[in-house]
């Protein structure tokens, strides 16, 4: 007996398929986790001595004595960029012809686009959680308490969805895995044209201007506020707003690109 499956059942089937694919290629997941953890250890090791507890009472005491709290958001944001793999999943399906098979079946074309984005978001959640666990072990202690970890995680999720949308749009538009890979180049300006190592007030000249226009700045500052300072609602709000707007814009472009890709020639 055949009855047309609902949108959500279709989405569940295709999402499960991609999760199986991720689980069966675990080595592909390791570099991003490793890089994020590496950032955390290296930055804490290199800069923790200067800006950590010994900076107490000096102008460099922006971490309130705990540099792990200050630098953890950078690692989380870098982990959340793993959402950028979503475009690769889709492009692999286009290149291998799996995409065409689904197109020839009476299933929603949106499901084909949404499934890799959901898997991207799940990866972001898992990777960010793992980095936070490592951060906790080496001394992270949010100023607002444990709920601070959940706030950071939620920001990472929205930010990761934004990158997933960007990646899908770039992947579908380029139509090749190289194109989708090349699009991850955005990682560098996103991370480093921001108050990565010091507060924004310490940035000077062109970098200060670039950081002001980089949405990553507001996401990192928002995460830092709950980790280092406590409840600073306007900063927190700006972080969610920046991540939300970024996600909305990239999702919009993903939808437009996907619509063009699924349209009949």
């Amino acid at each position: 007996m055949i009855t047309k499956p609902s949108f959500f059942i279709q989405l569940g089937i295709l999402t499960k398929r991609l999760i199986l694919r991720v689980l069966r290629r675990p080595l592909a997941e390791l570099p991003n986790i490793f890089i994020s953890a590496f950032f955390l250890f290296v930055y804490d090791g290199a800069l923790g001595g200067v800006f950590g507890g010994t900076a107490s009472g000096t102008p460099f005491d922006f971490a309130n004595g705990n540099f792990v709290n200050f630098i953890l958001p950078v690692s989380i944001v870098s982990a959340s960029l793993s959402g950028a793999a979503s475009g690769i999943y889709l492009v692999e399906d286009i290149e291998s012809g799996v995409f065409k098979r689904y197109q020839s079946m009476p299933i929603s074309r949106w499901v084909i686009i949404l499934a890799p984005m959901i898997v991207g978001a799940i990866r972001v959640l898992l990777q960010a959680s793992l980095i936070m666990l490592i951060g906790k072990i080496i001394g992270a202690d949010p100023a607002v308490g444990t709920v601070g970890f959940l706030i950071v995680l939620s920001l990472a999720f929205i930010w990761g969805m934004g990158f997933a949308g960007y990646s899908v749009a770039a992947g579908v538009k380029s139509g090749s895995s190289q194109g989708a890979q090349a699009a991850t180049f955005l990682f560098f300006p996103a991370i480093f044209l921001a108050p990565t190592f010091v507060p924004r007030e310490a940035l000077k000249g062109w970098l200060e201007t670039a950081a002001a226009y980089n949405p990553t700045t507001y996401v990192i500052e928002s995460m830092r506020s709950v980790m280092v300072e406590g409840w600073v609602i306007d900063v927190l709000f700006r972080g969610y707003l920046a991540a939300g707007i970024f996600a909305a814009i990239t999702l919009f472009f993903a939808v437009i690109s996907a619509r063009k890709a699924t349209e009949k020639a």
């Binding site: 007996m1 055949i2 009855t3 047309k4 499956p5 059942i9 279709q10 089937i13 295709l14 499960k16 398929r17 199986l20 694919r21 069966r24 290629r25 399906d93 290149e95 291998s96 012809g97 799996v98 995409f99 065409k100 098979r101 689904y102 197109q103 020839s104 079946m105 009476p106 299933i107 009949k264 020639a265």
Partner: protein, 325 residues
């Protein structure tokens, strides 16, 4: 009701610099329960035709119906009635055969239990039960094609589209797939397949349309097409180029292929002596002569002016007619 009815469909691709007419004018109809073959070389427009009929490409002009549903306006209805195995349709290599069948069955709307049953049925049908729990990347080319065929059958389609189903397979695997396709026809499934192999079209298709440069240039059963040649084919071989050139002047309507001249006549065997006498009377030395019934290869040569790659002569031959035709 016809299974497939195609009337004057065209497909034009526009690029920034150019307009390409991939399909110029294709019409044919397919009865329920028959195997219909679209035969032609690469770039003839076969695959584009299939993509249009399976709703994956928009038809530029003309119309087509699948079991009464208009391909252009009722694409969802069409997709529910058909199974598709395209030349470049992908298979998820990292999943197992069983997982692929199961997830495809779920996507078609089978319940979990029915999906398991359908999976087992299809694994059995395409002979992959033993390999069911292996990842597809470990399958041979032939096994992947059988898997692909099986996946296109999950929804028990009334019409099956197969785009070059045996391209790249060894003769043994090709034979296995042919048997599968014939079995499907015997179970009432209408099959439309494209091929560039003459032998495949001859062996499988109940009717054949020859497509060349986006046009249907001949259509009929294999026997009808061969009969359209109008007799037997006599082949004269020459070892000397001068003899060949002189023979061309004597043999009306002959076609040259390398060092051979081919001529189509009624009662080929009976006519050989008179041709040989005439040539030898003109001091032309014949290396060999033979008469044969026309093949699809001959039909293809007649309607397109060249041979299909992979056929006997394998290259586009120069068409030369006798001077006194």
């Amino acid at each position: 009701m016809l299974a497939v009815e195609v009337k004057n469909i065209k497909k034009t691709f526009k690029t920034k610099k150019d307009t390409v007419e991939a399909v110029k004018d294709v019409s044919f109809s397919v009865e329920k329960g028959e195997i219909f073959g679209l035969l032609g070389p690469n770039g003839a427009g076969k695959s584009t035709t299939i993509l249009m009929l399976t709703t994956l490409l928009r038809i530029t002009d003309g119309e087509a119906t699948i079991l009464g549903s208009d391909v252009a306006t009722e694409d969802k209805s069409v997709r529910e009635k058909i199974g598709v195995a395209l030349q470049d349709t992908g298979i998820d290599n990292i999943l197992t055969g069983r997982e692929l069948f199961f997830s495809t069955a779920r996507l078609w709307g089978y319940s979990t239990k029915d999906s398991e049953t359908r999976t087992n049925e299809l694994l059995e049908l395409v002979g992959l039960t033993e390999a069911a729990d292996r990842r597809v990347k470990t399958y041979s080319g032939g096994m992947k094609r059988r898997l692909d065929l099986g996946l296109s059958l999950v929804n028990s389609p009334e019409i099956l589209f197969l785009d070059e189903p045996t391209t790249g397979l060894d003769p043994g695997s090709r034979r296995v797939l042919w048997d599968e396709i014939k079995r499907l026809r015997d179970r009432g499934v209408t099959v439309i397949l494209t091929t560039q192999y003459l032998e495949e079209a001859d062996e499988l298709a109940d009717r054949i349309a020859i497509i060349d440069e986006g046009l249907v240039v001949a259509e009929g059963t294999s026997d009808q097409l061969k009969a359209s040649i109008g007799g037997d084919v006599i082949t004269f071989s020459f070892s000397n180029k001068l003899d060949l050139e002189n023979a061309k002047k004597i043999l009306n309507d002959c076609k040259q292929e390398g060092n051979d001249l081919r001529i189509t006549v009624q009662d080929g065997a009976g006519k050989i002596p008179s041709f040989v006498n005439e040539l030898t009377a003109n001091n032309i030395e014949i290396e060999a002569v033979s008469a044969s019934k026309p093949t699809l290869d001959d039909v293809f040569l007649k309607v397109t002016g060249y041979r299909l790659e992979g056929s006997e002569t394998s290259t586009k031959s120069e068409e030369v007619f006798g001077e006194n035709q």
